[in-house]
Symmetry: C2
Subunit: 565 residues, 2 copies
């Protein structure tokens, strides 16, 4: 393809609305065009990249006996009512009615469609296991699309669904798919992707993993043990606390703390360590605004995912009203009276001599001992693990927290969907059973953007060979020079004839413009034909990542390029 | 792939809700699964077929310098407001609002998105011409989805958009694309597809063609000249009528025609030929129910497409109310009084001695001569061309009418979209101009179904080699026979190693079940290994279309199969 025919514009200035580099480079390089919030069109270079990623996905899914199918983008609401998710999923799901007022939804995931497709097929145990997958457009009405293709509303996804007759069989297949995912990320040029235990969220099921590409711009926080192989999304990471009661137990004493509202202010005022305080964090149930008061150690933060999972309903940070019975800033466990859900984090277990609110304006207690001062306290895990925290696997203080982009996920779904949608099979003993499911997703556009995010320099993306839009970027500097033009033309044709994907720049522009456009296209191998090179009888070859450059003589240039590919 | 692992069911009984054969065979063969009205999931065999079709489309689009891009499925309403189609398109377009109440639509075609993508790129004449295309899911809320994949609501389409600086350049490219379409249909195994002139409908523009696969179940009627190369969709076909006045002009005479309402009843009662009558057909404007009274010769039918195009607004067949001033069954041009739009078809030109309604219950006129009895009558072309009608090109009475499935269409759009959306370029003389567009569509699923419709027998589809889900269907009849099993297993592996797409049936079922499943999968080459064949030292090879069969000896069977592929 000749660069001067390539539809799309390339430019130098970083667009002001781009926060992350992959977003800026994809706009500057003519990869994407904004259509609406979280909705983009793709130009040819990106389309070539995503098609290569899709082909890798297809090959690796086929290798683990996946069968490619296709589910609809538009589905009847009734299908989602069967699973219960028509009700349980909120505004992320786009809903509309057709001309006959039948309610429809846009697919954001396809568990329901997968069960519907195979419900009749899978009626006997001897059909199992099997896996079906698709590569298709999805729409999720994200509240805050951002970072270009990292978080969008419309996206292409590879989603796979496996069906099994035993948990052991699911687990075996789950491992197989885990390995396939490792191969996929390695083939796509990011072998450094790690898998971490994750929260299953709206998907259901117990065990799930996310594949994370570590980068500072990632939206997820990941707890990684520097000593063993423990890795988990912060949302799912267990927080272990080992406390010891002080031997000098103080009595519970009310103290005057005028205008000290936050736990930091109170601790400073009372000269106490935040670790020796019991702070209250208040939420409200979305459905009816009922208050939930959570107590945890003053130096920790709430992990809202764990809290929501425990409660089993959606919550939001509280807006505390005057008639609530809560004295904001002075809430404590002793003497708290009202129709609240009260919860205790296990970071408070086995502590005494704590500072806490006295449920009275301008007063706190010191000397709190929950065991002594309250009855029947139950402790659960609601706090975020912290840098330097205790690894839940090896028990050492070896947790580090990193940021990452989720580029894939796998879930052991269990029988959530097959039960809800009444999909059964007859087992070898003639008994009716529910199949056990797994599901496995990779977002294509996000993967491309994530790769760009970890593989670029100031001038453009550095695409790994396997997914680069072209393999060779041929520049004819000064194509008005007859020798340059005819040599470059021939090289272009020879490479095309060999089936090499070449982008050929023979525009009458400066070398500077040529090279900055080439940087933005990020093609692995750059070949430069110029009057100076011709004079020396050579061609200049460079890799985009600058790891290699050579000046082979003109007569071997073609073979040299083929060798490098 | 082993057949016993292939997800999907195959069965003999024709489903009662399937009217056309391709629909029945695709359900019976485990190709599609109904999800909702006009919405299907695809099993692997169909997915393999459509992927091959898509690859053919891609290659042929690339050959005519197309650049693959991708537009969104979900688009903001504002984009369609720019072109005016947010208003002009009716219920076929799915509309919904996102969580912020922003109106969105589902793409049913992508002219607006194409212009949006290249509006900034195409600002100078030297960027032209260029063509961009995509292969993607579309949703059109059809009033009456039917015939399986022939008329659905959700479908995958290849849609291409070209941009030009002159009508000549568009026409040249349009011809190039016409030839690419011919190659596509030939490669997909249906070289018999014909192109016919068509009505441009909601797309706009003047010249357009549809590619039609002739078959009795087709929804379109096509006028074909048996004498010259004239071919047109009936909707777009000009109807030529040559009339001569009778020399014995009769006077206009009111006659009593009690209870004779239809033109057939009246003509029979008055012993007149329908050709000598002037019938009235009444419509109403959708917007305000205003009546439109159309007069045409009694033996002809109204072409509503031509009528709507003339009127420039949407209409529906009239419901004639009592206070309308119209006497249903007795409407005629003489003395017709009221606030109606009155139109005359050119089939009435130069006729006299006509029977027509007298606008009075139970009365008609005879002897009508529009020239004599009315003033200022203007005639337009509103009638359907008929079998035996006059060819608008060669002028002979040589029109035949056939039915066909539209498998592709191409449009010369002109500047409709670029003007409406203010896309301009600076021409070589520094003047601002609107680019001229063409657009080119092929529906992937419909093409697969249409091919099945014209290429099947009573037992299943006969897939052309280029799009068949597999190339070889290997049957091991009596796999419990050690010799059969080990020979067939080895053949399967050898073929796989050669990269041949094989579906291997080694189930312990009767030959009858094996062969009927093979018929339903429609794979071009069937290879049968059985105890009887083994005893004779041969393998049986048959083509699905029954044009070829052979029994090569076992030791050359592998080479023989490769030769046949």
């Amino acid at each position: 393809m000749k660069l001067d025919r390539l539809v799309g514009e390339r430019f130098k200035e970083k667009p002001s609305d781009c926060v992350v580099e992959s977003h800026a480079l994809m706009v500057r390089g003519g990869y994407i065009k904004y259509v609406a919030n979280g909705i983009y069109s793709s130009y040819t270079p990106l389309k070539r990249i995503t098609r290569k990623i899709e082909q890798i996905l297809r090959e690796e899914m086929d290798k683990i006996d996946g069968q490619e199918v296709q589910f609809p983008v538009v589905m009847p609401a009734s299908l989602w009512e069967e699973s219960g998710r028509y009700q349980s999923i909120g505004k992320e799901m786009a809903r509309f009615s057709d001309r006959n007022e039948s309610p429809l939804v846009l697919g954001m995931t396809h568990e329901e469609a997968a069960v519907q497709l195979v419900r009749e097929y899978g009626q006997s145990y001897n059909k199992y296991p099997f896996m079906i997958y698709q590569i298709q457009t999805k729409f999720r009405d994200e509240a805050r699309p951002k970072s270009g293709l990292i978080r969008v509303r419309e996206f292409t996804m590879k989603d796979a669904y496996s069906f099994h007759t035993s948990q052991e069989d699911l687990e075996q297949y789950y491992d197989k798919c885990h390995k396939a995912y490792e191969r996929i990320f390695a083939r796509a040029g990011i072998p450094e992707v790690i898998s971490v235990a994750s929260d299953s969220g709206m998907m259901g099921g117990k065990i799930s993993h996310e594949f994370m590409l570590l980068t500072g711009i990632g939206e997820d926080s990941i707890a990684i043990c520097s000593d063993c192989d423990y890795k988990a999304n912060l949302e799912a990471a267990e927080n272990i606390v080992i406390n010891q009661k002080s031997e000098n137990a103080e009595p519970l004493t009310k103290v005057h703390t005028p205008d000290k509202h936050t736990i930091e202010e109170v601790c400073e005022f009372l000269n106490a360590d935040a670790k020796n305080s019991c702070k209250a964090v208040v939420y409200q149930r979305n459905a009816d605004d009922k208050y939930i008061v959570l107590f945890l150690r003053g130096d920790l933060e709430v992990n809202e995912t764990k809290l929501t999972n425990h409660l089993g309903f959606e919550i939001h940070p509280a807006v505390i009203s005057e008639d609530s019975g809560l004295n904001a800033g002075f809430i404590g466990p002793v003497g708290l009276d009202g129709d609240f859900i009260v919860l205790y984090d296990r970071s408070l277990k086995n502590l005494n001599n704590l500072v806490c609110g006295a449920n009275e304006i301008d007063y706190h207690y010191t000397g709190l001992d929950l065991d002594r001062d309250l009855e029947n306290v139950e402790y659960y895990d609601f706090a975020k693990i912290q840098e330097g925290g205790i690894c839940p696997k090896c028990g050492k203080h070896s947790i580090t927290v990193s940021r990452g982009i989720e580029v894939g996920n796998i879930f052991q779904l269990g029988t959530k969907y097959t039960k809800a949608m009444n999909m059964t099979y007859i087992d070898s003993e003639g008994k009716s059973q529910y199949p056990i499911m797994g599901c496995y997703g990779i977002g294509v556009g996000r993967l491309a953007a994530a790769i760009c995010e970890v593989s670029h320099d100031d001038y453009g993306p550095i695409w790994p060979k396997a997914i680069a839009p072209y393999q060779v970027h041929l520049c004819a500097v000064r194509p008005d020079d007859q020798e340059v033009k005819s040599f470059a033309d021939k090289l272009y044709q020879d490479l095309l004839d060999k089936g090499v994907e070449v982008i050929y720049d023979d525009r009458n522009v400066s070398a500077g413009i040529m090279f900055s456009d080439a940087d933005l296209l990020g093609v692995p191998l750059r070949v430069i034909v110029s009057p100076r090179n011709i004079k020396q009888g050579v061609v200049e070859i460079k890799t985009r990542d600058k790891s290699y450059s050579a000046n082979p003589s003109m007569d071997v240039a073609f073979e040299e390029i083929l060798k490098l590919l």
